[in-house]
Symmetry: C2
Subunit: 336 residues, 2 copies
DNA sequence: CTGAAAGCGCTTACAG
DNA sequence: CTGAAAGCGCTTACAG
């Protein structure tokens, strides 16, 4: 029952002997499609179970040339949305018998060195596909992954140069939703707090906000620079408070900065949502905290990860993977 | 340079041919300890590099019986401290050429089923060690891991029955620090907000708080039930506000519940820290947010993960792994 | 110090 | 439908 016979791992040969068949038969019994007499298969599978046998994946991969491994490189798990996406991805892979080889690429000093060893490792494991998630994985990392010649998938971001496939939340569409929402509340002086410079998601979100505004003949009274951090939101609130006339709504690039914005606005003596509406993006757990009660745009996390795994599992992938955009939804809470 | 020759992977045989030596020599050149003439090794390594060769880990593992794989099972990455610990662990392993096989065990419906497939997978990869992290991984999961007969390490929690080794933050000591801190501020009516029922960390933290109080001849005016969530802290604040006389300090089981506590206290019209001090535990990123500015106890994350990896790498492990406790530190901020 | 040979555990044409 | 045989890419005694 425990996969061992006298201290050593039980192999297909052990099962074969016990079941009175050849090793080939054991191998076939485990492949659904292989021709094996039904009763034989049953007997083999049963004795395999009794002996606690399961095929050695390493040997399997070596001989068949197929690996279950998928490289997953992420960064900044400290950002709740990254953690959520990553966790959902790992869980989905697990359910599909895909095996994630995880790499944390926290940008900064060690990034390049870490990247080298990561790619080295990936190569040595015969990995054939890599998924990059989180906007914080730098373009340098993307370039390096593309250079490997492996199939690279992007999750929740796309490549501006269109060099590789991606499955993303349609954040531009989500931005339109948010903008329309504050407009419907009768807000008229709407500011935007931008996300991390250079990030695809940041550009798209901002574009969505602006589109939503212009659809109704409006435009932003200001676009404040930001970087997706709580801190930048807190600081930007001072700018908001100084503006004349004051904005009556702020569309923030993400929830983290929206949380900071709310705190900062309170510090400036402004009331949310009475004086000003605040909308975030991502729907992280903190958005639901009573201190923020943040209206936000949620990402289709589950659809994204299953769509991505779908691609990874596809045996006949297209020459070049497309960029798929999945719809976001508005999550109304108390902040606006 | 790209690890492929005419579309296929380059093997040791290719390098051997190119360098004019036998395959054995190529293999030896990559093992530091093996006898190889210095100039030979250099030549081999150089041509390997030119050809983009690196040993196939799968084959290596198969023949040598050593796997670089370490099972890592975690749960609830939505809890920032879990995400941090997990990220640090993965990063540390990466640096040490250990390969984490990650499993997300979100408790609930699928836990048992997920557990089965996880263990099945682990077995099939010839994994020999498992590290369990996060208090939220249930005892049922621990039992199942122990049943495999593999070496199981606990990170940031211990087993009450002492069945397996662990490396943890000394949260009891951290609790003492926190209690002493509020006492030094002259606080006298100190309440405790408890953590998740049954969790080792929760028990230890509470014990530390109580110890710290009793060291100075004090004791808690109340121990409120909690579950480590932001919500429970928010709710507990109502109880605090109703108490007569009101407590002037609350020692919370973790930062999440401390954040909720602060929000709840404000909602009750109490001022922090003027009316009441609030102390958390974990030092998650949110603790530093200006809305909370939470005084807390930080975990020795880096020492913990490197100590753990040390154990994993140890070729001559003790019969039974010890429980190592690493010291926590008080992080003073504005909440008390 | 170096090469030929055996073997890790498995899959997959190849003949029956 | 089934077995014998070759081979995936590597390491490691075993003889030189």
């Amino acid at each position: 029952m425990d996969g061992r016979i006298a201290g050593k791992t039980v192999t297909a040969a052990d099962v074969a002997k016990a079941a009175g068949v050849s090793r080939s038969m054991v191998s076939r019994a485990f492949r659904e499609t292989a021709y094996v007499a039904a009763d034989q298969r049953e007997k083999i599978l049963r004795t395999a179970k009794d002996l606690g046998y399961s095929p050695n994946v390493l040997a399997q991969a070596l001989i068949s040339g197929k690996t279950p491994f998928v490289g997953v490189v992420t960064s900044g798990l400290a950002n709740p949305i990254h953690a959520e996406l990553y966790g959902a991805l790992v869980q989905e892979m697990q359910a599909r018998s895909l095996v994630p080889l995880s790499f944390q690429m926290n940008s900064g000093d060690g990034e390049v060195a870490g990247l080298r060893t990561a790619i080295e490792t990936i190569k040595r494991f015969e990995v054939r596909q890599i998924v990059l998630t989180s906007f914080a994985v730098s373009d340098r990392v993307l370039d390096a992954c593309l250079d490997t010649g492996l199939r690279v998938h992007l999750l929740n971001r796309a490549d501006d140069a269109g060099r590789t496939g991606a499955v993303c939340a349609d954040v531009a569409q989500g931005g339109v939703l948010a903008a329309r929402h504050v407009l419907e509340q009768g807000r008229t002086r709407i500011a935007i707090l931008d996300g991390a410079p250079g990030a695809w998601t940041a550009r798209q979100r901002r574009a969505g906000y602006e589109q939503g505004l212009s659809n109704a003949g409006h435009s932003a009274v200001a676009v404040l620079p930001g970087d997706y951090s709580e801190r930048c939101g807190f600081l930007a609130a001072e700018d908001i408070a100084r503006m004349q006339p004051r904005p009556d709504a702020v569309l923030c690039a993400n929830d983290l900065s929206a949380c900071g914005m709310i705190t900062g606005l309170h510090a400036q003596g402004m009331r949310v949502p009475d004086d000003i509406a605040v909308v975030g993006f991502d729907d992280i757990p903190q958005a639901a905290w009573s201190s923020f009660d943040l209206t936000t745009v949620s990402l289709p996390v589950q659809p994204m990860v299953s769509q991505l795994c779908e691609r990874v599992e596809d045996d006949a992938p297209p020459e070049i993977d497309p960029v798929t955009l999945l719809p976001c939804a508005l999550k109304r809470r108390g902040s606006g």
